[in-house]
Every structure is written in C-alpha cells, then in structure tokens.
C-alpha cells in the first residue's frame, strides 16, 4: 500500500483516542467522527460553550510573488487586491465551464503573500491547479502545520486569556500572535455559525497549544459529526455535496462570494475561469438553485433523497441533510429548479417511498453569531 493510500494521522491522533474519539477514515485521514458525549451533546456544547475541532487534514497553502493577487484572481471571482493585510475572504476556485473546483478561505498575510485554506479531499488537486496556472509564483504547501478551530459562545473568553490581542479581531480578520511563546496565526472565522477562531500552528507546537485550550473546562473536542450538523444549521455549504464541478456559484447560492468588482460593470469585470457562464447565470438566473428546507415532523431527510412537488414530479435532490440539535428538527439543503426556489415553497422529500413535506426556508436556520465588531 502506498503512503497516499494509507489513512494519515494528524498530530492530535493520540489526543482523540484518549478523549474516546471514534476514528473514521475521512479524506485520507483518520479523524474523530464523535466522542463519548455524542453528536447531539457535542453540537450543543459548541453553541453554548466552546468546541475544539481538529481540522489539520485541511490544506494550508501559501502563495507568494509580486503580482500574485492578479494571478490568483484569474482562478477565483474575488477582489484579492482589495483585502487589507490580515483580512480574509471566502472564495471558490472556478472552472472554465463555470463549475466549482473547491471552496476556500483566502487571507492576505502580506502585500504579495496569500494564505489559502482548502478542503482536505481537494488539496492535492488544488495545489496542482495553482501550480499549473501560477507557474511564476511560489506555492508552498504548509504540510508541517496543524489547524485547529475553537468555536462557540465562550471561544472569545478563552482566547482573551491565551492571546488577548485576538479578542479584538473582527470576523474574517486574522493576526500573527504568540500563545505561550509559540508562533500562531489566528483568524476569527469558522464553520459553525458561531463566533470563533482558527489557529494555524506548526506541528512541533500543535499539542502544546491544544493543551492550553483544553485546560479550560468549557473547551472540549468536537468531532466531524457535530461539525456537519453545526454547519448545516448555519446554512454553510459542504464542497462535494452542496456544490461541485457541476454547479456554478450562482446555482450554489453563494452569489455573495463573488466580489462586486468582478461582476458585470465592475472595475475588474470577469477575467476568471468560467466568467462567461457565471456572469450569464448572474444576469439571467440559473436553471437550478440550492435552497434550505425545514422538514415537517422529526424524520431526517438525508443526502440523495429526491425532491417532489405536490403532484409527485421529481424537481430536485437533497445534497445535505440531518437532524439539527439546536433546532430540534430535521434540516436539509438541496437543489431545485429555480421556479421552485422561492422561500415558502411547499415541496416533499421522498424518504423510503414516503413523501415528507418540507418548506423552502431562508438560511441560516439559526442566527449567525459572528463577531462583526
């Protein structure tokens, strides 16, 4: 078996085992899907206290060189030059036919240095994509760095004690900081809908930082299961499920992620892969759209379930779904033809041959509690 076919372990593997984590293969890594408290409790703990997530499987990539913003802007419909140093943005790597190669967070570390965090399952492909389009720039995979996320109502109280300057950060901003003398890069961001932080730290010092965080009673490890239910309630897309190479950002309902300067009439209109198709979707509407659903009853509606109108015609498919522990109700996202995408539209999911009524709803389903300053 080659190394790439084996499941890798993050620096925190032994910590997950000690905490009772149930390890499962995920994107080439053995990751904790849940701990003994279970997904429901882990989810609620994150919203009410502070959850610690090992997201070291994700790809951390530095792209540097004079003029790198302009070069990267060919691959993503955002205005990277407009970012202040230490500011970050959500973005998508688009494809020539208007689909999405991956979604990512881009942080401007310096004038000509951008820090990218990409999905674990896509990182090799993303790095190859960067190298093929940005051959004149330096692309460094920070594969000796860990990434941990501290999320939830009490995350800021913990960070205030460990690294006081980070508590001044507003959502989607970051800063280099020392925690106990250890160099870290901390951003105010996350994937739960809660206020929170992501901490990038070299593997050598990753456990020391985790120790400091876990010393707080309010801070507990949270697994992938709760990570999924948290992001679902927060209305956040999961790449490979809620969007992929066959969906445009407009269809995926992330039009907001396209900078105004890259849209029709903007100062830097188009000029990114797939611009023709994507700007056409923006102008004329897309044939299908991702929407959120509130489901009647308690039966979860899961990925793959077909969506039917009230006459039984198949009009779409569920791409993510489960039970929302905060809402205490099933929540789902899926694609429907655009004519049926309006909030309030009554549709049905077909679950084991039965129609489960559901309503197109505004997302997020829980109020986002980002710290916007």
């Amino acid at each position: 078996m080659s190394d790439s076919a084996k499941n890798q372990k993050t620096q925190f593997y032994d910590y997950h085992i000690s905490a009772g984590g149930k390890m499962v293969p995920f994107a080439g890594y053995l990751m904790p899907v849940q701990y003994p408290a279970g997904i429901m409790q882990e989810h609620l703990h994150t919203r009410n206290n502070a959850g610690l997530f090992d997201v070291s499987h994700m790809g951390q990539v530095l792209v540097t060189g004079v003029g790198v913003a302009t070069a990267l802007e060919k691959l993503m419909p955002v205005d990277l030059d407009a970012l202040a140093i230490n500011q970050q943005t959500y973005a998508t790597f688009t494809l020539p036919d208007g689909g999405i190669l991956d979604d990512l967070i881009v942080t401007r570390w310096a004038e000509d240095t951008y820090f990218l965090v990409v999905n674990a399952a896509c990182k090799d492909q993303d790095i190859a994509h960067l190298k093929s389009y940005l051959s004149d720039f330096t692309i460094t995979h920070l594969d000796q760095h860990s990434l941990i996320a501290l999320q939830g109502a009490k995350a800021k109280d913990i960070m205030l004690k460990l690294a006081p300057s980070t508590s001044d950060l507003i959502f989607m901003h970051g800063c280099p900081v020392q925690i106990d003398g250890i160099e870290c890069y901390v951003t105010r961001s996350g994937y739960t809908g809660e206020d929170g932080f992501e901490i990038s730290v070299s593997n050598d010092h990753a456990l020391a930082v985790a120790d400091r965080l876990l010393a707080f009673d309010d801070c507990k490890w949270i697994g992938l299961g709760a990570r999924d239910s948290l992001r679902l309630e927060a209305g956040l897309c999961l790449y490979g499920h809620d969007m992929d190479q066959n969906t445009s950002p407009i269809e995926a309902g992330i039009t907001w992620s396209i900078s105004h300067s890259r849209r029709a009439g903007g100062a830097k209109e188009g000029g990114f892969l797939g611009a023709e198709k994507i700007l056409k979707h923006l102008a004329d509407g897309a044939p299908k759209k991702r929407v959120g659903f509130l489901v009647e009853g308690r039966a979860p509606v899961r990925e793959g379930a077909e969506i039917a109108d009230n006459d039984g015609n198949i009009v779409g498919v569920i791409t993510s779904g489960g039970f929302g522990p905060t809402l205490q109700a099933p929540v789902a996202m899926g694609y429907v033809t655009s004519a049926l995408a309006a909030v309030g539209t009554q549709l049905n999911a077909i679950v084991r041959g039965k129609l489960r009524p559901m309503t197109v709803t505004k997302m997020p389903l829980i109020p986002q509690r980002y710290h916007r300053g």
Binding site: G225, A299, G322, P325
Partner: protein, 125 residues
C-alpha cells in the same frame, strides 16, 4: 416465564406467553448514537423473517430493523414517537420497539443467549 435471546444484527427478543417483544441492544444504540426518530411498523402487518419492520434514525444515520421471525405485529411502542431517546436511555426496557405473534412454532436455535451475545460483541464481529 420470560426467555430472552439476541441476534447477530443486535436485536433482542423477549418471549412471554408466545408473544415476542423486539428491540435493539444497548450495544446497537451506542453504535447508532442519538436517536431522533423511529418509523414503526403497522399493527396487523404480517412480516416474514428478514422484512424491514422499523427504521431508526439517529443524528448520524438511518438503521433498519429486520424482523428476525415470521409473524404478525400485535403491538408497537407508541411512546417512541414522542420520546425516541428511550432507545438510547432504555433500549432493552422502555425502549422496546414492537411485539409479534409468531406465525409458526418459534425456532430459537439460531439465536444467542446473553452470554453468547456478549462473546459475540466482544469478538468484534
């Protein structure tokens, strides 16, 4: 007297006066995680061994309960509709799922007793 048996699918059967009460074991509920919904069979349904009788939905996934004997459903646990968490808190007691009146003479040879079942789960199969 009551006899209790277990299946390799982690169901338990409790037999009393020729009525078989069926549920899932503590081991099964731990694997399933937090149960949020249970689809119960209909009273009066005639089931053949292996038929899908109930579906347990946890936060994580859906699990099907296949009926381990031939028979007719004579009762379902209505409490599970409003309190699906009974399956987590009392899987082998208040969390019973349904009762079946066997259609033929009940053959229990293929089932395990408590000791055999414990060995079975310890073996990690």
């Amino acid at each position: 007297m009551t006899q209790k048996f277990y299946t390799k699918d982690h169901e338990w059967l409790s037999i009393e006066e020729n009525i078989v009460t069926i549920g899932v074991t503590d081991f099964a509920q731990e694997q399933l995680g937090d149960v949020v919904f249970i689809e119960l069979p209909e009273v009066g349904a005639d089931l053949i061994e292996g038929d899908e009788a109930a579906v347990i939905e946890s936060v994580k996934a859906a699990g099907e309960i296949a009926v381990p004997i031939n028979g007719t459903v004579v009762a379902i646990n209505e409490d599970l509709v409003d309190q699906p968490e009974l399956l987590n808190t009392a899987p082998e007691d208040e969390g019973w799922i349904f009762r079946v009146s066997p259609s033929d003479g009940l053959e229990t040879a293929s089932f395990m007793d408590a000791e055999q079942y414990q060995k079975y789960i310890d073996s990690g199969e």
